[in-house]
């Protein structure tokens, strides 16, 4: 290989990568660009980067449209995370650190749930929630989300807790700490990073879920995903501009996830690959 040969492909690689990246990011670029235009500009050329006066008007409208959905979705996510992480950590501690009757059986009972796909339980769970009288209530989301998050969380937490050095547990026991104190003072503080990873995976899954909330919640109680998918323009808006307001709503819906990715990129990468390693 001469220097010449080695050098030439490098430009090509950079060029190809940038092109690929722009194409991959294009839906986002298109979305933001058209949220900033008005309907006439969109109809003439959706690929342009014009800005409609008054600047950002559609974001204001989209925020008004989505505000209630945002608060509802955040509440649902927060309560679900408490259950997934809290109960998941408790079980992981038992599986990692305690000896008890039926341990292997109970572990496989949890592990087996990883093989159960969501679509299998979708219909019976819907009928069950209906029979329990939970339709049109946030609990119709929170309770199944907590249950659905257990298996993977326990699996990952257990591996992590097993990796905590034994000496920490022994010295705590010598100091007379009981299991719950050990859990609270040693296991939980040391597990914060792994809890963040699992939390992020659950946040993205819940935030992006459309099928389940659209089955169990009324349109007036939309989550963010429901609100943008079943977009109903406010009567005040000129119909030609509806599409721009829609793009503004999509943009707003994407903002929390983009911020999470920016701040917690490392945890996301760890979480994504942790699932693969386990296989």
């Amino acid at each position: 290989m001469s220097m010449n040969q080695a050098r030439r492909p490098k430009y090509v690689i950079y060029l190809l990568l940038v092109m690929l990246l722009v194409l991959a990011a294009y839906p986002m670029i298109f979305m933001v660009a058209n949220a900033l235009k008005n309907g006439d500009q969109y109809t003439v050329n959706p690929f342009s980067f014009g800005v409609a006066p008054p600047f950002g008007q559609f974001f204001v409208l989209a925020w008004e449209y989505l505000e209630a959905s945002f608060f509802r979705t955040f509440l649902i996510i927060a309560l679900s995370l408490v259950g997934v992480i809290g109960f998941g950590m408790l079980s992981a501690y038992a599986f990692a650190r305690l000896k008890f009757y039926g341990k292997a059986f109970l572990f496989y009972a949890i592990f087996g749930l990883l093989l159960v796909p969501g679509f299998l339980t979708l219909i019976p769970l819907f009928l069950q929630i209906k029979n329990m009288g939970l339709l049109d209530s946030d609990w119709a989301l929170i309770l199944p989300y907590i249950a659905g998050g257990q298996a993977f969380a326990i699996f990952v937490f257990r591996t992590f807790v097993q990796g905590i050095p034994n000496e920490l547990f022994e010295s705590a026991r010598l100091d007379g700490a009981n299991d719950f104190q050990i859990f609270q003072r040693i296991v939980v503080p040391l597990s914060v990073p792994i809890m963040i990873t699992i939390g992020l995976l659950n946040i993205t899954a819940i935030y992006g879920d459309y099928v389940w909330p659209s089955l169990v919640l009324a349109p007036s109680q939309s989550t963010v995903a429901m609100a943008i998918a079943n977009f109903v323009p406010p009567p005040a808006i000129v119909s030609v501009n509806v599409v721009n307001m829609q793009f503004a709503a999509y943009t707003l819906a994407a903002v929390p996830m983009v911020l999470l990715f920016l701040f917690f990129m490392r945890y996301f990468v760890a979480g994504l690959t942790s699932g693969a390693i386990k296989m």
Binding site: F47, L98, F100, I123, Q150, F183, T204, A229, Y250
Partner: protein
């Protein structure tokens, strides 16, 4: 005689002692078990009610006829027999077959190419930034991506306008409402198909390739193309197989995309098995039939996954662990 009695006595005594030792051990285990069950209780209450119960109902429900109002009646295998004579279900299987055959190679190729190009960059800093930016394209929620693509496909949308620009405007159509194009619009959505997840898996795989191997090949005068085909592709087989399995599972479970983009239409031109299950339950109140469909998809995708897992494991043993 005396010796024997003595012997028996000491034997008895040793049993008694060992039982005395054993019983505190057992008592300790019992006490620890109670503590452990207390730790496990919340999890099992939740999964019992909202995971096991619906799984059992799903498996039993597949053998019943049920409209959701009257109690379900046992019909044996008749749902399954009906299913395999149901033209819509059979069509949905063909669709999911095409989706896997076309969609999976496209996605793998794109992610492999992107990971390979990033890995070949000399500068670690550039490698980091490209990985970062590709992962950022995934930050946008899936549902938002789907909705934007619906807009792209609409008559007069971005795809039609692009065709106009290159002088192929006469091919413009309502991509999602045209029975000729609806399924292909679903399959090809998400161009250029670089999944950040697959990219990271491949990239980690490249990092796991021993440098001596590549150096030796370079010394022997291997070209860049030979290096890809003779070294990197064979050594990344575990990653490739893993991603194929995950993709099959993912595509067979993907309800969101067809539901939002076409709802299986027009006239079932883009129906998929999971969507057909959903429609039977939610739109037609045929819950037993819907559960039978779910049962079949579950069995098929599990079988594929188990077969694939076997191959992955042999792959890993040859290679060490790439991920």
């Amino acid at each position: 005689m005396a010796a024997r009695t003595l012997n028996e006595d000491s034997h008895k005594a040793s049993i008694a002692v060992s039982e005395q030792i054993k019983s505190p051990v057992r008592r300790r285990l019992l006490r620890q078990s109670i503590i452990a069950y207390a730790f496990l209780l919340p999890t099992f209450i939740f999964v019992g009610l909202f995971s096991y119960r619906p799984v059992v109902r799903a498996l039993i429900g597949a053998f019943t006829a049920w409209n959701g109002l009257l109690p379900p009646t046992w019909v044996g295998l008749s749902n399954f027999i009906q299913l395999f004579h149901d033209p819509v279900f059979l069509e949905s299987l063909v669709h999911i077959g095409w989706w896997s055959l076309i969609g999976i190679p496209l996605g793998m190729l794109a992610a492999f190419a992107a990971a390979l190009m990033i890995y070949r960059l000399r500068s670690m800093r550039a490698q980091y930034w490209f990985r970062f930016l590709f992962v950022m394209t995934m930050a946008i929620p899936g549902i938002v991506g789907i909705l934007i693509w619906v807009d792209f496909y609409n008559p007069g949308g971005a795809i039609d306008l692009l065709l106009n620009v290159v002088g192929l405007g006469r091919f413009g159509t309502a991509w999602l409402a045209n029975p000729q194009t609806a399924l292909w619009a679903l399959i090809l959505m998400g161009f250029p198909w670089v999944s950040a997840f697959a990219l990271l898996i491949f990239y980690a795989g490249f990092q796991g390739i021993p440098t001596e191997l590549v150096d030796a090949a370079t010394v022997d005068g291997a070209t860049s193309g030979q290096r890809v085909w003779r070294i990197e592709v064979p050594l990344l087989m575990p990653q490739i197989k893993l991603l194929i399995i995950l993709s099959i599972v993912g595509i067979s479970q993907n309800l969101l995309t067809p539901l939002l983009m076409t709802n299986g239409g027009p006239e079932n031109a883009s129906i998929t098995p999971v969507l057909y299950m959903y429609q039977n339950a939610i739109d037609y109140d045929r819950f037993g039939y819907a559960m039978a469909i779910a049962f079949v998809i579950f069995l098929v995708s599990m079988t594929l996954a188990i077969v694939g897992m076997k191959y992955i494991r042999t792959g890993n043993e040859q290679e060490g662990n790439g991920v």
